[in-house]
Symmetry: D2
Subunit: 383 residues, 4 copies
């Protein structure tokens, strides 16, 4: 019986989650899975859930196992049972919520993009640094154990000096010109394919290859107007990019290409890249997230890419499954992100972008946008 037995004596960290959409639920699942499956230096307590719709807030709180709900996110931030504020609201709310949480001395776990302008992002990372609060940003794809394996291989020099990065993040959910306008089409809300999809790929490039020092780019809007709402005959003009292509020059000398598109038919979650060095090449595609294709010169005396399948040798995978080949899903990457968050809050080192790194990603996206607007190479140091 619980009362007589106390094998588990971990500290508890109270999570306050703001938002009950797709990402809100993904967070809720991730907190539960992290508690049940992952080694954590503290136990997560689902302390509070906030949504402006109080009935929805309470319904979700009960369904997802939160202790209580708030209709006012400010209340949640100041709730003393909340040590970590998780933000899954639309992009333009990231700034006020994160700033309030920082002011309250709370750790912040914010979805990407960090903010709707580089200035806001800069203010957020500076405030967090000054306040000394721990931050983590939801670039969850970086927490894939196969990405961890790629990172380890690169750091161990298995690919030699990195020579090239070629990356693409394409989906097709806006391919149909009848796909209506939404906040994702609004530049003031960090809309567009570059912000929505491309920023994940920029983060991946930085994580695996390093700093970018200059970019040249081309943005294009293919469908110049879209229905104001589903099925509507009223059309709204579109100002954000449907697709962006860029050249990247990394500080370590590597060169590469970058593409992001939300109208490339056939792709559903095609965050993909190839990284090549003087000793080998590795390739990844999020649509097969449990695989990594690797070629190492001379490894076998015969030529050929090798398909590595995720297995318990990769940190993060073993926690969810002791046998190889069983595959993790998207939601488990989120749980691994939560593990990194809790490690960071407990003072341990952990992987994955914080506000500082998220600002660097925004800065790179800003450089790409400027390069496209002015049709010239832009040095990152000028941003």
């Amino acid at each position: 019986m619980r009362e007589n037995h106390s094998a588990v004596a971990l500290p508890e960290l109270g999570i306050g989650l703001i938002g009950t959409g797709f990402m809100g639920r993904a967070h809720a699942l991730a907190f539960g899975n992290a508690n049940a499956a992952l080694e954590l230096p503290a136990r997560i307590r689902l302390a509070a859930l906030a949504d402006a719709d109080s009935a929805r807030a309470e319904h979700c709180a009960q369904t997802w196992g939160f202790d209580r709900s708030h209709a006012d996110w400010q209340q949640l931030i100041h709730d003393p049972r909340v040590q970590i504020v998780a933000i899954t609201t639309p992009n333009h709310l990231h700034f006020p919520m994160a700033m309030a949480a920082i002011a309250a001395g709370k750790a912040v776990y914010c979805e990407k993009p960090l903010a709707v302008s580089l200035a806001e992002a800069d203010e957020m990372r500076c405030s967090a640094k000054t306040a000394g609060v721990v931050t983590k940003v939801g670039y969850n794809y970086q927490h894939n154990p196969m990405i961890g394996l790629a990172k380890d291989m690169i750091e161990a020099g298995e690919l030699g000096d990195i020579v090239s990065f070629q990356g693409e993040f394409s989906e097709d959910f806006m391919a149909n010109p009848a796909s209506p306008w939404s906040w994702r089409c609004d530049a003031a809300h960090a809309g567009g394919a570059l912000a929505d999809l491309g920023s994940h790929l920029l983060g991946m490039a930085r994580y695996l290859v390093g700093d970018v020092e200059a970019v040249c780019a081309d943005c294009s809007t293919v469908h110049l107007q879209r229905p104001a709402s589903p099925g509507s005959h009223e059309m709204r003009p579109i100002a954000v990019d449907d697709q962006t292509h860029a050249l990247l020059r990394f500080s370590n000398g590597a060169r590469g290409t970058f593409s992001s598109s939300w109208l490339k038919h056939g792709y559903k979650n095609h965050l993909s890249f190839e990284i090549s060095g003087t000793l080998g090449t590795l390739a990844f595609d999020q649509e097969r997230l449990n695989e990594l294709r690797v070629y190492r010169a001379g490894a076998s005396g015969r030529d050929g890419f090798q398909r590595l399948l995720a297995g318990p040798a990769q940190p993060g995978y073993a926690a969810f499954c002791p046998a190889p080949g069983h595959q993790l899903g998207y939601n488990e990457l989120k749980a691994l992100e939560v593990q990194a968050l809790i490690q960071a809050v407990c003072g341990h080192s952990s992987r994955g972008p914080d506000f500082e790194e998220a600002w660097q990603i925004e800065r790179l996206a800003t450089a790409i946008r400027l390069a496209a607007a002015e049709q010239r190479w832009v040095a990152l140091e000028d941003i």
Copy 2:
């Protein structure tokens, strides 16, 4: 606040889980994910957890969120707060535990194989039927939304009359002759590649193609002895099959091949099959569980297999992710199995093997074993 608001008024069903190994934790994750993400006719309450090691039982109960722990599984079965008994213990314990649960009028959620002998399995399915308790057996791969799509396509006649089934479930965890003896190598514990892996494939064949009426088969043991324990010099003789190959004749006229092996190098979870009919072919591989390859004659006027990616159009996927291409993992298939369990307990129809179907699977495996032993065709009606 919770007290003033009651949007959620679902009945609760108390789960009593026996076992804390890999499958125990997989169950715990599945219950949590089902509650948080899936539409259920009742809410799951993690009422009790049993393990003979009481400290471990309590530790896991706390980690996984169960209300209490028991060292004695009989106590758990008779705990009035438990309505569903989930059994994840070694195979030879399935029978006594399930029989006790049935006697207590509890619903039973049992891992596969149902039992270590066909006679036991028969007794279990008869007892459950007589007692009128709901049962569900852990053939979780059948709950994959892509398998559901395959089932729907076949039922809708998209492949025409089914002509052939070719299936293989191969892994390589016993490929190394130094892999030691374990209960999986013991015929009395339903060991061997046919029982351990093959039964999943037999269930899939029955689910998608239908009854098998006759089989011919060949079992072989490649490594005739294995170390008694890891690294031991003491060798134990092995009597179970390392690999089994069979021919299947289905009642509907389809013919096919079947293979199961636990020593086929390179495969980690290769539950794979191709089903072909007079109008098309579909192919599946569990190592890419979010994909289905489909060929329909004349669909496009050009020839070619199509790779379908899991997405929200498939029931079960949408609950976990609103966007296609994000991929489910193994543990989410388990949550979908739990959803089917809860639906069944609440009197709704649901997919996935119950004790009756699990017995049919065992019966088919028994026919295969007999056909191999006697080197002749065996009709199912003689089993």
Copy 3:
């Protein structure tokens, strides 16, 4: 100028080709490509071409570069300028033509299957042996450099002891029930999927794994009648197999499955197999004939199949292309078969089935047919 220079002083071997259909032209292309690209111990001279239609014979002779044409194949066989008789006529003519060529002391290059009955095949191989003439049979897939690589790997022990063979040769050209009757549907002409397609796979199994000692099998005819001719309303009954599945027991202890079908939708030339041993696995699919997938345990410390691409390291490839990845086509496999033929005729050892081996393949197909007819295991020694 030719007159003053004589770098090339190879003997010439005159080819007499019978037949001007698809395989006749494939032979003509192969002779030309072999002369131009492959190292040969003798130069091939296109001495004579025979077809019962004399105008067609002459037209093809000119188009393909043969010295002369014959309407009577007997004349061709006795033409003193012909040292090698190449037979590409319908199956039932292989016997009389080959027997006549053997009687005339000519080497014979015969398309598969060797004959329309095992008795004929037996007589052919005995006669060739007695006469001491060189023979080669058109199992051209075996001459693929990637198959040669597979053979070398197996012989070098890279896969360890062979444990399993799983093979399938499926196409879909008879999948449509409106596909009309042809001689391929006539048992007396060695029709049926087993004879037409399966024999290639049986040859491959024997080549790579070795003798088969027993088989069990199941043949089925899905479409019991077909139009007598394209578009005809007259239906002819079909007695040959549309698909055959079998279990194979090899003399070296390996076990396996075998399938051949000409109505499996989606496959166009799917001669495919996986061979697994105690140290690794290799996989091949003729639809990607320039690739071999290989898994070797522990090769890299990480798990994964490797995709090997054909390149100049493989004998046979280099002759056609000095750079890897450029790919050979079906017709070049035929040229490599011609090279093996010329090597054999010149007394060198060479790979690829002769009449003796082709008879062994027919014997194995006969055992499979008998096992299916009598629904029992059949030992090869009883055939």
Copy 4:
């Protein structure tokens, strides 16, 4: 007998081939295969072969079936039995040979790149135009029937308006820094990855998508010096690009990325691209030259790329094989190029770059080089 029969009454065109290296032999194979397998408006006569090494010239002439040999290529050009001059010598010789052939009024079949400078290429195309001689340039990949299918699909509007092109031609034959200097490393010989590989991809982009109006690019030399010869300790500086990345703006509004590299490990002939439009996407990789991956929105009501396999429905394939799935090889693409050449010489329309188009390709490569050198966007109209 030939004397009495004259079914074939095609005119003959005498080929004079200069060069006996890899491409020389590839031409010889292609002429033979075109004669034997392809429908031609004239029969090809292998009239003469030239190589500065007269013994080699004569040896190859005999092996490949040419009527005579020349040590002096000028003699070959003026040989009255030669109507078409085929040039397979090193790049810097293309200009003088082609100009001499044009002056002699002969048709010219020249390997790519057309010349070692844009000025030379310009002079060649103007001279050919003025002289009215037929030309064809060896961009053989464009003659793949699957590329023809892609072209047909795009022209028929199956992809809608083209939105993006993403292409890459990577190999790894220079990946090893010990790979020695060769003329391919000499800018004066049109060396570098862009010229050697990239020009094929630029031709493909122009063929399938259309004119490019502006480019931005980045060239990099990773290995700044290489051994002067194999194994040598003497190092030579390298001035040409190891890899080039570029952004392309097409006149029709499509945007895209371009990469060429000869040091990307793992790739052997990775001429690959994806073309996406408002209705669908197609993808191609020369390492699987018999396949095309196609996605058409809404084609099936279900999402997924379709793998099309080459078959007799594609013009060019049927000539070599009447059954699908049997695959063409690299050398057969060359024979199809020869067919286009003979069609053009006989006044028929035919696909594939002539000198005019080859100059356009060089012009585009020149723009890319300039854009990289000056780190700015370059408009094609300024080249």
